[in-house]
Symmetry: C2
Subunit: 330 residues, 2 copies
């Protein structure tokens, strides 16, 4: 049964990646025993962007968002600012409130953080679109920004070669077409400790000073991904009035080459329909899908009105996907 679509669309996307880039040589310098070729063959990632020590997710979000305003979007039209992040400036206040001030948005801005990782853009789309669909807002910013590299030890061979810092800003607005949806969103918290920053909140707060103790169980996350992504994708199709052939292009969370190749193989997707940019920028967590969309748009690989599918998955474990009609620049 088709689920309701919403009269909302993505109007524009901008992003920012820190200028500091790390490659295989940097990994080798800190880890003489790593076989960099083997790592790069597996991850497919050759560059990662690294935030400066003093540069936080909100700093990056300001740069990305100001680019959007330079392109003609009016600050006085922004009704909400949803910041998806797991690298807030502080546990409190909400970093979205700090952004509201730094971007000089109106006091009537609905501002809050959503804490989610690689599935976060899809959840933010669902929440932001719902605020517009119900009439609580007409236009808003969905910002995704993370600095996972601050959490990762330089000798962590599973995580350091993959994760990259970055921020995206997506302009959502009401549309005359039902351009947004269907959505499929889900959670399996039994895998909560497959990707975790243990000494970061209140659970282990008496452990003393914070450590760069980000941990990912690569094998378990891979199994979760291969179990959930095909299910999620099929469920979205079932909820919509579309077939897989109707999808003009697929935008998966840019996890790594191993994950992406396995998804393509398992789902028998035509390679040219699956957008890839992890090789050049790494895994930027919740910003990875909007950055991929913007890249595809800049490369003239998206047509206005094209049906595209987005699927995000990861930390939580949490997943989300949707079909939408592309309404941004082409």
């Amino acid at each position: 049964m088709p689920t309701p679509q919403m009269k909302v669309s993505i109007k524009a996307i901008e992003f920012y990646l820190p200028s500091k880039i790390e490659n295989g040589n940097d990994l080798k310098r800190d880890n003489a025993d790593w076989r960099i070729d083997d790592i790069e063959n597996k991850t497919g990632i050759f560059n990662r962007h690294i935030a400066e020590p003093e540069q936080t997710a909100t700093d990056m979000a300001v740069v990305a968002s100001e680019q959007l305003f330079k392109s003609g979007v009016r600050k006085e039209d922004i009704d909400f600012l949803i910041l998806v992040t797991q690298s807030p400036d502080y546990l409190l206040p909400s970093s979205a409130c700090i952004l509201q001030d730094r971007l000089r948005l109106r006091e009537s801005t609905i501002a809050f953080d959503i804490n989610l990782g690689c599935s976060g853009f899809i959840y933010g789309l669902a929440v932001g679109s719902s605020l517009i669909e119900t009439g609580l807002a007409k236009k808003g910013l969905l910002v995704c920004a993370d600095t996972y590299t601050k959490y990762i030890d330089k000798h962590d061979r599973t995580c350091r070669p993959i994760f990259s810092d970055g921020a995206s800003t997506t302009l959502l607005a009401s549309s005359d077409q039902q351009a947004m949806g269907s959505f499929e969103l889900g959670t399996d918290g039994s895998g909560f400790n497959n990707i975790i920053l243990p000494s970061s909140g209140t659970r282990e707060c008496d452990k003393g000073s914070r450590k760069k103790d980000f941990f990912m169980d690569g094998a378990k996350v891979f199994m979760f991904t291969m179990a959930m992504v095909p299910k999620c994708l099929n469920s979205i199709i079932k909820k919509s009035d579309k077939t897989l052939d109707d999808i003009y292009m697929f935008f998966f969370h840019q996890a790594s080459k191993t994950v992406m190749d396995s998804i393509i193989r398992r789902l028998k997707l035509p390679k040219e329909k699956v957008f890839i940019n992890y090789d050049k920028i790494g895994n930027t967590v919740s910003a990875s899908i909007p950055i991929a969309l913007k890249n595809a748009s800049d490369e003239k690989r998206l047509q206005k009105g094209a049906q595209i599918m987005l699927v995000g998955f990861g930390v939580g474990c949490s997943w989300g996907g949707c079909i939408l009609k592309w309404d941004g620049e082409t």
Copy 2:
């Protein structure tokens, strides 16, 4: 102009407060020079609930939510779990995912954290109601849980006499009446450092070990509150088709006696129409309004169908208010 109302209502609320209670004697024991009578005259708060060292916001949320399920709500009917917290177990994963697992909710649960403080229940209501109104969900849990006392130094005379730990779970569901709204939501991030936990996120992460460095500028927060709450309240009335006289009862965030008395005086509200419970339980952050609603319901002070107004305000600075038609137990 009346803004859209939503066919959503609050069906039930449960809450949990830690059994450990602190009163004036405890403050005096740690602070021989404090004049407890003066403090209590100002705050109006005589008891505060304190989470155990090992007890986190999700632990409290589990207890509150299981009470709801014991009362007959079916787990398999829950479509979303929104956790409003600024005391997550970890910066990642999202504590809502952990709750999904601990409560044994379905994998199709839409689970995420919203990071907001004393205004958070109203934002959660707006977001949760929107998910229902658009058809993305039929029923969901809005959980508010915080353990601010873990952040507060025992010698902090501004904060320790006020803040209390607690968790609430609110069941939202579709309704045949337009019971939810109008909403008024806003943000003034220029006051972001009026209530702040500096060494908690990525901004000051190189400062070394975490401290109990929660800070509140009481005077500035009071000025913000007295400037924004009347504006917010008048704006809600303007957006609705109601007058102040139509409001059966007001539920403000239970900040403290000073704040509450000033609001009542400034707005010339009839005292008997303003629900108060801060004296007995303290300021429980985002859980304070739902706990007040449940208390009022248990005390038979709420009638089904009564128009009530909720207003939350604080850290961010962020504020939110709404009118809704009471649909819970009475």
